[in-house]
């Protein structure tokens, strides 16, 4: 049995930022545990930027405008106290990262450069060329290295141990040796990232399998707003790898099989430059109505020829590279097939603005010693739809706040204990997977899951589709009980890890579907064709899904409308 004062699970921006904050107190024993090396975390894939009203490229921005854009982008489902903190604390967080050496792009005058980004009314995206996430991840890792924080790299968290709403620690699995152990800790923070991997086409890395979310769910914590998943309109066909927003910005056309710029039917004024969700839905409609391109008719074309070769080379080098390296297509020669791609997970583990996990029930019951931050959490700053560049910011701002809260709280927390029985569930699950000799293969089940989620619980949803999705899922869950994996060994068993992850995907997919089925309205990332408008009367509230043996039980919670430093923004139509 291992023991640490504080254990952070997940080493993306949120986890590392929190770990650094806790390590400010030299008396605290903090460790970071992650299933991929910290530098491999998904945060590194973020391209576009991180929002903050620095006013380096203009002088009209303010935290209030940033907050307003965030709340509106969220289709008014964001908690306004949280959105306020996100916007207010953004600048100081950016300066701190800069002081640590982050390689942000610069203006001629030497200040940090800023640019425009979808949904933000001001040029407030701070960036490092087209690799902002990578620059941030690197600088946090450097600081972590410098302070000698203990890192369990390539260790997998299997289970969260709670007793009477008090966190005791985590059951873990050392991928290298295959050893299962437990780490007792007075405070545990989950920063395990999003859950996009349940969808066939996704920008998400292999690691984004919602592990932390499912561990919390299985431990009795409800999951919040899981039905809200953001689809990005420009994923490469097949892989779903993200083509930058800049492609549309520079004037690429999007064409259907007839070679027509179909956006004229959906957003005649803004055409390709309409907001992400509108373009994604237009694409999906064309595909669903048989006007898709390629043999599979599952995508539409992005045509770069109107931009001109010189400009493409100058303004879109990363797009050129991405299309060539990952789809084998040269955009200078041929149009690139694109599809809507699952991009960001708005839902997650409910927590307050200091990262403390709360049930959001009548008493707002806290789980003592258990915290969450980043994409796996639901504070909620993004509500029904997050704005680009706000999620890196969320990871940093709320990672830091959670770290601070832990630093003070942990002094008063009693030592925790883990008993033999606490390892039981995890040990039994691993044992079952290693010994299983049934006819089913994890790869096939995963494939079917991702396909049905994409088709029936994707960009468009209807009751019959969601019901079909749910029954397919139930069947897949059953088949999962009869799988056999090939690798029966202990050392570096990625076959086993992938099978465990599949179990998580099958669990949270059910929560997404159930929440989507119940929510009879369209808001942000959730679009019901049979209920195509927003219904504030019935649905201006957060979904909370509790695990029961018969599937998720839904409850609802109010949206926070009480920012501290200004009046709340009243509900209005989300129109651009």
């Amino acid at each position: 049995m291992l023991e640490h004062g504080v254990l952070i699970v997940g080493s993306g921006l949120a986890g590392m930022r929190a770990a650094l904050e806790v390590s400010e107190d030299p008396d605290l024993d903090v460790a970071l545990l992650t299933k991929v090396h910290p530098l491999r975390s998904h945060s590194g894939a973020a391209q576009g930027g991180i929002a903050a009203s620095l006013n380096n490229s203009n002088d009209e921005d303010s935290w209030e405008l940033h907050m307003y854009d965030t709340v509106k982008g969220a289709d008014f489902l964001a908690d306004q106290n949280a959105a306020e903190i996100l916007a207010r604390e953004a600048p100081e967080n950016i300066f701190e990262l800069e002081h640590w050496g982050c390689a942000f792009s610069r203006l001629e005058n030497g200040l940090i450069a800023q640019r425009r980004f979808g949904g933000h009314t001001q040029p407030r995206a701070v960036y490092a060329a087209d690799r902002t996430g990578h620059a941030l991840l690197t600088v946090l890792f450097e600081q972590l290295f410098r302070r000698g924080v203990k890192v369990y790299s390539e260790w997998y968290a299997l289970d969260l141990v709670l007793r009477d709403n008090v966190c005791q620690g985590v059951v873990v699995y050392d991928i290298l040796t295959g050893q299962i152990d437990a780490i007792a800790a007075k405070a545990v923070l989950f920063a395990t990232g999003g859950y996009g991997r349940a969808f066939q086409t996704t920008t998400n890395a292999a690691a984004s399998t919602g592990d932390g979310i499912v561990m919390a769910y299985r431990a009795g914590i409800p999951l919040e707003d899981m039905e809200f998943v953001q689809f990005h309109p420009t994923g490469l066909q097949g892989s779903g790898i993200l083509l930058s927003e800049a492609a549309r910005g520079e004037g690429a056309h999007i064409l259907n099989a007839e070679g027509r710029r179909f956006m004229e039917d959906y957003a005649p004024e803004r055409m390709e430059l309409a907001p992400r969700d509108i373009v994604a839905r237009a694409e999906q409609t064309e595909i669903d109505e048989g006007r898709g391109v390629t043999d599979k008719k599952d995508s539409v074309f992005m045509d770069f020829s109107p931009i001109g070769e010189e400009r493409i080379r100058y303004a879109l080098p990363s797009v050129l590279h991405l299309a060539r390296d990952f789809a084998g297509i040269d955009p200078l020669q041929a149009p690139v097939p694109i599809q809507p791609t699952a991009h960001y997970s708005m839902g997650g583990i409910p927590c307050d603005v200091d990262g403390m996990v709360r049930l959001k029930d009548q008493n707002d019951t806290p789980i003592v010693g258990f915290y969450a931050a980043g994409e796996c959490s639901c504070v909620s700053v993004h509500g029904a739809n997050r704005l680009g560049t706000n999620s890196l910011l969320e990871a940093v701002v709320f990672g830091r706040r959670a770290g601070r809260a832990i630093r003070t709280a942990v002094r008063d927390l009693a030592p925790t204990r883990i008993e033999e029985g606490d390892l039981q569930r995890a040990v039994a699950e691993v044992d079952r997977l290693l010994k299983g000799d049934g006819p089913e293969r994890a790869g096939a089940i995963r494939q079917e899951l991702r396909e049905v989620m994409m088709i029936d619980c994707g960009v468009f949803r209807t009751r019959p589709q969601l019901e079909n999705c749910l029954s397919t899922l139930k069947n897949l869950q059953e088949r999962y009980q009869r799988i056999a994996i090939d690798d029966k060994g202990w050392q570096f068993n990625t076959d086993l890890v992938e099978a465990i992850e599949l179990g998580h995907m099958l669990e949270y997919a059910e929560v997404i579907i159930t929440g989507a089925l119940a929510r009879e309205e369209s808001r942000g990332g959730h679009f019901r064709k049979d209920f195509p408008t927003r219904d504030d009367q019935r649905w201006h509230k957060h979904t909370l899904a509790y695990r029961t043996d018969d599937g998720p039980r839904l409850a609802y919670a109010d949206v926070n409308m009480q920012p501290q430093y200004r009046d709340p923004f009243p509900l209005e139509e989300r129109k651009y």
Binding site: A206, D325, F326
Partner: protein, 344 residues
Amino acid sequence: MPKQDFVIERYDPVTERSYEQQFTAEYEPGQTVLDCLNSIKWTQDGTLSFRWSCRHAICGSCAMKVNGRSMLACKTQVTDIVDRGDPIRVAPMGNQKVVKDLVVDISNFLDAFERAETWLQELPDQDPPSREYRTDKEEFDRWSHTATCIHCGACYSDCTVVAADPKFLGPAALAKAYRFVFDSRDSKKHERLEFLSEKHGIWDCTRCFMCIEACPKDVLPMDAIMELRTEAMREGITNNHGSRHSNAFRGGVRKRGRLDEATLPILSAGVRLGAIPELIGYTPGALRLLKSRKLIMAAKRHGANREGRRQVRRIFDEVEAEKARSAVDAEAFAAERSSALMAH
């Protein structure tokens, strides 16, 4: 769908046995080596082990040897490397202990960054400004390409010196150190250069170009190492084996009159992109040196891609700038440079 054979070098940690195994994978045009490995794993043999995560060349997980050279499996199109129906050979990275199949132990590679303390060391006893430090754009452009390193280890895997001396800091850690040497926010420039000038540091590199070839990003590690050498000499850090050797070399070159011959055309041909073909067009005198097959190969290699051309141009820029600043330095620099080119 087209089919492709793969021969994969495997290692079983339990029996400690290495062996080769052949698989056949179907692939669609546009798919990568990583896609094929995953399809093998998911449909044929789940025991096949390798690391991957992002699928688009940013997380640095999937470096391995493909047909003998280190590269990212996710960034390698199958159609780009198929050769007359030969199987594609996949093996773990070199210079690191194999853990299982294509998974290697990267701790030695990562330790080098820790040894070189590649993190910003602020000015002591000085509170940071309430806003950002201003960073001159010129300075930023000087080092920002080295900040694109994704720590994939491909360069380390192919480095000829790491193979002989596992303690050598290696191309990636040195390139990262370069960044802090030239970052004005850092307070330890001199100490860094002193450390880097010790054994296992910048003077141990044999300028074999392998790291530049292997790197999937814009880092150009060898270039950075050469610039660190010049900077160390400029800072007067000469009491070490490497720089003494370099000084002697400079003297020798001067006596033989070769240095001027070798560098003059570079200086006079200017800094344009197309300068290499022009240089090669000069026939008389010392230019025969430059016409040596090795140089042409290096030049060709460099001409092959954008990074390469930029690298060549930067050599020329540097030589010119150096010359302008100090004749002696420029000679040393050019000697380093031209011998780097000629080493090939």
